[in-house]
Symmetry: C2
Subunit: 463 residues, 2 copies
Amino acid sequence: MSEPGQMASEDAAFGLDHAFVQTVVDALAAGDVAWVAALVDPLHPADIADLLQSLPTDGRYALVDVLRADFPSEVLSELDETVLDEVADYLGVDKLAEAVSELDSDDAVEVVQELEADEQREVLNAIPPGERTFIEEGLTFPEDSAGRLMQRELVSAPEFWTVGETIDFLRRGADEDEGSLPAVFYDIFIVDPAHHPVGAVSLSRLLRSKRPVRVADIMATELNLIPVTMDQEEIAFLFRQRDLVSSPVVDADGRLVGAITVDDVVDVIDAEHEEDIMRLGGVQEDDLYSAVAETTRLRFVWLLLNLATALVASMVIGLFEATIEQMVALAVLMPIVASMGGNAGTQTMTVAVRALSTRELSPANALRVIGKELLVGGFNGVLFAVITGLVAWVWFGSPAIGIVIALAMVINMMVAGLAGTTIPLVLERVGVDPAVGSAVFLTTVTDVVGFFAFLGLAAWLLF
Amino acid sequence: MSEPGQMASEDAAFGLDHAFVQTVVDALAAGDVAWVAALVDPLHPADIADLLQSLPTDGRYALVDVLRADFPSEVLSELDETVLDEVADYLGVDKLAEAVSELDSDDAVEVVQELEADEQREVLNAIPPGERTFIEEGLTFPEDSAGRLMQRELVSAPEFWTVGETIDFLRRGADEDEGSLPAVFYDIFIVDPAHHPVGAVSLSRLLRSKRPVRVADIMATELNLIPVTMDQEEIAFLFRQRDLVSSPVVDADGRLVGAITVDDVVDVIDAEHEEDIMRLGGVQEDDLYSAVAETTRLRFVWLLLNLATALVASMVIGLFEATIEQMVALAVLMPIVASMGGNAGTQTMTVAVRALSTRELSPANALRVIGKELLVGGFNGVLFAVITGLVAWVWFGSPAIGIVIALAMVINMMVAGLAGTTIPLVLERVGVDPAVGSAVFLTTVTDVVGFFAFLGLAAWLLF
């Protein structure tokens, strides 16, 4: 794709640039198939996937038509779910089945699981039985489990083999039966006669050892065995924590059934990140490629929940209608206390949610963290109480209103520190993803306390 | 660390559990050094790092004392910056230098760069000159660049070597000079006489090839050369996109100077993700381990900015004091419109910020995305206009106030869709991280428009 040296300039950038995408768009619009083919031919499959995603629907169809004759199967496993559905539909069952059967078993499962049920059936039926079995087996495992993620192709060797015998086996495998070895692998798993993994030899270790050495003598025995049902979040944690590149997957009887490689785990890490960010932002799933109606529907639920909390806040204000009638300045100032509490609470909650997902926050240090956040809320509360109190005093010429807003500020920012840590901790404890629910509970608390403290103190102290 | 099979149960979990942490805490409190040592001995360095992080400061010191005699150096590169500083100080220069010099060059740079300037100097001086050179060279490269991330130890071979010669070289290297080969490697980089990379051979490819085959005949020539000054974000994109496990780093003359491996890139991906989440939540950096005073200071700036935007919103309300005086119901309802706009805008902004960071949103599709978000905002705006309008009508018995809040809702939610996409796009264009500034600009817009539309329409239509 690039000449060595060509990329060695300081401003080298990988991926597609906008000018290139525009050139493809223009060539597609002009119907210049040969030119499009020439532009796309040198691209990496992941870049073709990005290109497809950045085109509007009709452009996607046009590009699929150009690629159709020899569709690069790896593109499929790099596509976002929504775009994959579109491309899969347009490719048609036969072409799709052909492409899927060219993929490694883990990538094939990844693609097929995204298809709708009837399409899934049709595609599977169009795949030769031998290849189909691995995919069908993969689909029997729970979504997001090791079974879905693992590659069935792997290299294993018995304990009594020597380094030389293992290398000869690999060389023979390359000659005789390409299909039985994975395209790329990093570790050789050593198994006992019942096919239980007992060790692993990294290829660099194998290469540095003399031919007569027995693999059992150089294998690492501290295996990170992954049960086939393990959730991908746990797997991602393990790979990150132990700096792994590949790890063996075992069934309920402890037999070696597959291997997970780091490239798939990187995708998982990325997907988990996306989930965290989206949920914190009140989005159920990344809907960049979803149609308007679907996006509207997906976002509606969250907004409805927020409307409920906003109405609760309004009811709190409603309790003090008479107070506001006496002094409209209160209506002018009241959003400040609620807003500062919301922002301070969001800061705390962000740190807490992240620390829960990296497992840095746990019952072992929860009290310490809560105490700290309460203090931070208190200190910043006092600082902002002084600033806001002075502003309110000057603005409305009343020291009393300054004192009221100052007191309300300290209260709400301490509550924000407390709620920002305890809400995610409680949600985690009751088994709800803290990233999903924390924000809505938090703003309810900081709005209600913010309005109530400010208006309540005003009603009590000013009249 | 675990027997094979032991981990194969369905509820296997890696990492520390809370009961274990508590046992260590108790043993430390009881001063039972032998028991602590026995508990910690089987742990992976990454788990020891996690354990240190979950302890309060005096517990950290006590644990460092237990480990001091034979401090596991890899623990250092797994620690959070704040905790690393604490542990480094407490270890003392000599022990620290000893531990750092045991690390691979990339991990050593990672640790040393986090130290304060004078401590950095002292530690470097205490490291033998040979090992010190790699670290000092690493530190000359910009922070977050390939030069800081790369490992200097790598395996290269000339083009004319055969597979057999390469394997023999590796076996000799294992015998003679352990230090010259990296502990683990995945690719052999093929270089020309001027040490420019011309190809790469994965170990699995090498192992599957016969001894007389020349490496030049089996090498992949599509290299992803990483300039030594390339930013780590770009590197992370490349590894993710191309499913790489290692990639060669070249200097300005295109000569091979190091290699970056996927385990370091996983850490980068994680750090970039943390940065995104923190910035979206208004936190400058993860301050979980920072002291109260430092945390208060770090969060203050963001809150001050938010106070400014809250004051702007208050001023907008101030324009309508007379209107509110005539009808206090307006004060009760007005936060609803602003809040719904803020939430809808945050949804849009979250998708946009994420899409910018994955490069899925670009000038090529920006207009399409903006148009879509405007429509989504409009549709949800109409839905919530109806709901909120009815609620307001019933609550205050006035259809007119229902109409006012409905109109304001549609306006503000369309503005939210527009602002939620254009603000991140504009920030990205002017070179500001969209994750940092988007939220504050967005809430300013949705608050100002929300209050102004609702109160302005009320002033115009109701009186």
